[in-house]
Amino acid sequence: MRTLRTLLALAGLGLTGFGLYGIATDHYIDLGHHPFDILRWAIGGLLIHDGLWVPLTCALGATVARSTPVRTGLILAAAVTAVALPAVLRAGVDHGNPTLLPLPYLRNWLLALAAITLLTAGWAALLHRRRRRR
């Protein structure tokens, strides 16, 4: 176990070092400002995710989303939105290439959210009725 862990850690250090070396030596990466841009975006991503997004989900989980159906519905909606939203926002911007983003993304997204809401409501109602019967 110990040897394996050491090897794994060394491999991890090696890969990380190679990635940093690559950023520092790639011809397309302008050492004057690109590494700082990358660092800014990396830290920005961390701050937005850990400072805004996760606190929001924790707050929702502690208040609105206390039952399993509502939690499941919100998790599904968040996943679908994360994947679909860029296409929804970007629909129509195809640089003159109509085969890029050819679908009605806003409609599809709303349909998916509606389906999730319906399923969640149905599930919640079913649970409620079963609990009352007992």
Partner: protein, 390 residues
């Protein structure tokens, strides 16, 4: 997660605990009450997320090698299996999209660790936490830039391809370091303990359903039988001129009309030029080949044209000849394409003149384009003007 009290190593340097007066807000004990912020849930999600990240890394590495092979590898790249790149690059984007809900869930589960007290027990612990910051930042960046790249939406100030590639090394390196650091904890929670936690089952069920939904509604851009479920993918393989999507249109490349006196020029030991009529008089072959884009979509079509191997033989090229193909387009990073010998002599590699029974649309490369098995779409050069034996 309270059972991560790894023993302090003799060579690690302990750090003092800051005064308790600083322990405010989320740093206080008991801020996070959900039973799901526990190692077992983290291990279950971590396994799937780790598998997705490794799949992305390996398929990404493969794609990079095909696009920019180092010289020692260039002539050893296999042109088979025909759909090799279609599968690996499809998997790259599918596992990247699947990783989005997995990463969200995993980071939510371990979020309280961000506020653990003391913030750093020792220098080793501080370094481990720094490593986790690198891992998380790299993963967020990879998923964000990767997803937006499939839409050709570039909102960042750095070059996409190179940054996505190198940050991938940081993410994978960070993952290996993280596994090494957490190995005892992971091992302890590897197996299910009965009775399971009902709450955990529900949470993992919701995450699994999320992964299934985002996969099924996007994978249709490369998996034919999922096409009708394609709701959110930036492409659909049957939408486009002649039933095929286009990555770069003729208008974008400035090749809407081919020059009236177009001729294919082949340079080699015996150079020659051919008009379209002369090309059509040569033996024509058909090949059913996918066009597989680095952005994760792929579509299979019936291509017809002249074998590249025949064109090379006519120029007196040896079987080991490499090929350089130049497009009519004025600029663009893929205007000139080098083809290793393994592809150039493959009988399926065509200089295609027709697709799905019709003369090529300008968007598909009229007058002639390259189509080869197991190659990234950007190397299937369109609007071919010149072929040069190297």
């Amino acid at each position: 997660m309270n059972d991560d009290t790894s023993r302090r190593r003799p060579y690690d340097i302990p750090l003092p605990t800051p005064p308790d007066a600083l322990r405010r807000g989320p740093l206080r004990e008991g801020t996070f009450r959900s039973a799901l912020h526990d190692p077992r849930t983290a291990v279950v999600l971590g396994r799937w997320l780790g598998a997705a990240l490794l799949t992305c890394f390996l398929t990404g590495l493969f794609s990079h090698l095909l696009q920019q092979p180092p010289s020692w590898l260039a002539n050893r790249l296999p042109s088979r299996p025909v759909s090799g790149y279609q599968i690996t690059q499809g998997l790259h984007v599918i596992s990247g999209i699947a990783a989005i809900p997995l990463l969200g869930a995993k980071l939510w589960v371990v979020y309280p660790k961000l506020f653990e007290w003391p913030p750093a027990r020792s220098v080793g612990h501080a370094l481990e936490r720094l490593g986790i910051a690198v891992l998380v930042a790299a993963m967020l960046m990879e998923l964000f830039t990767g997803l937006l790249n499939t839409l050709q939406w570039y909102v960042w100030p750095f070059p996409f391809r190179q940054t996505h590639f190198w940050v991938g090394w940081l993410a994978t390196g960070g993952l290996l370091l993280h596994i090494a650091a957490k190995a005892p904890l992971i091992a302890r929670h590897w197996r299910r303990v009965r009775p399971g936690l009902a709450q955990r089952r529900a949470f993992l069920g919701a995450v699994t359903a999320s992964v299934a939904v985002v996969t099924l509604t996007t994978a249709g851009q490369t998996v034919p039988w999922l096409r009708h479920l394609d709701l959110f993918a930036p492409r659909r393989p049957d939408l486009g001129p002649q039933g095929l999507p286009v990555n770069r249109t003729a208008a974008q490349a400035g090749t809407t009309t081919a020059p009236a006196d177009w001729r294919l020029r082949v340079d080699g030991p015996q150079p020659y030029e051919l008009t379209m009529d002369q090309l059509l008089a040569m033996p024509q072959y058909e090949a059913e080949l996918p066009i597989a884009c680095v952005e994760g979509w792929s579509a299979t079509a019936r291509w017809a044209g002249v074998r590249v191997a025949d064109l090379l033989a006519r120029a007196g090229a040896p079987a080991s000849a490499r090929l350089r193909v130049t497009s009519l387009e004025a600029d663009g990073p893929y205007r000139v394409m080098d083809m290793p010998a393994t592809y150039a002599r493959d009988p399926l590699t065509l200089l295609a003149l027709r697709v799905n029974g019709q003369v090529l649309d300008p968007d598909h490369g009229y007058p002639a384009r390259i189509i080869a098995p197991n190659r990234p779409g950007v190397l299937q050069t369109k609007w071919v003007a010149r072929m040069e034996i190297l």
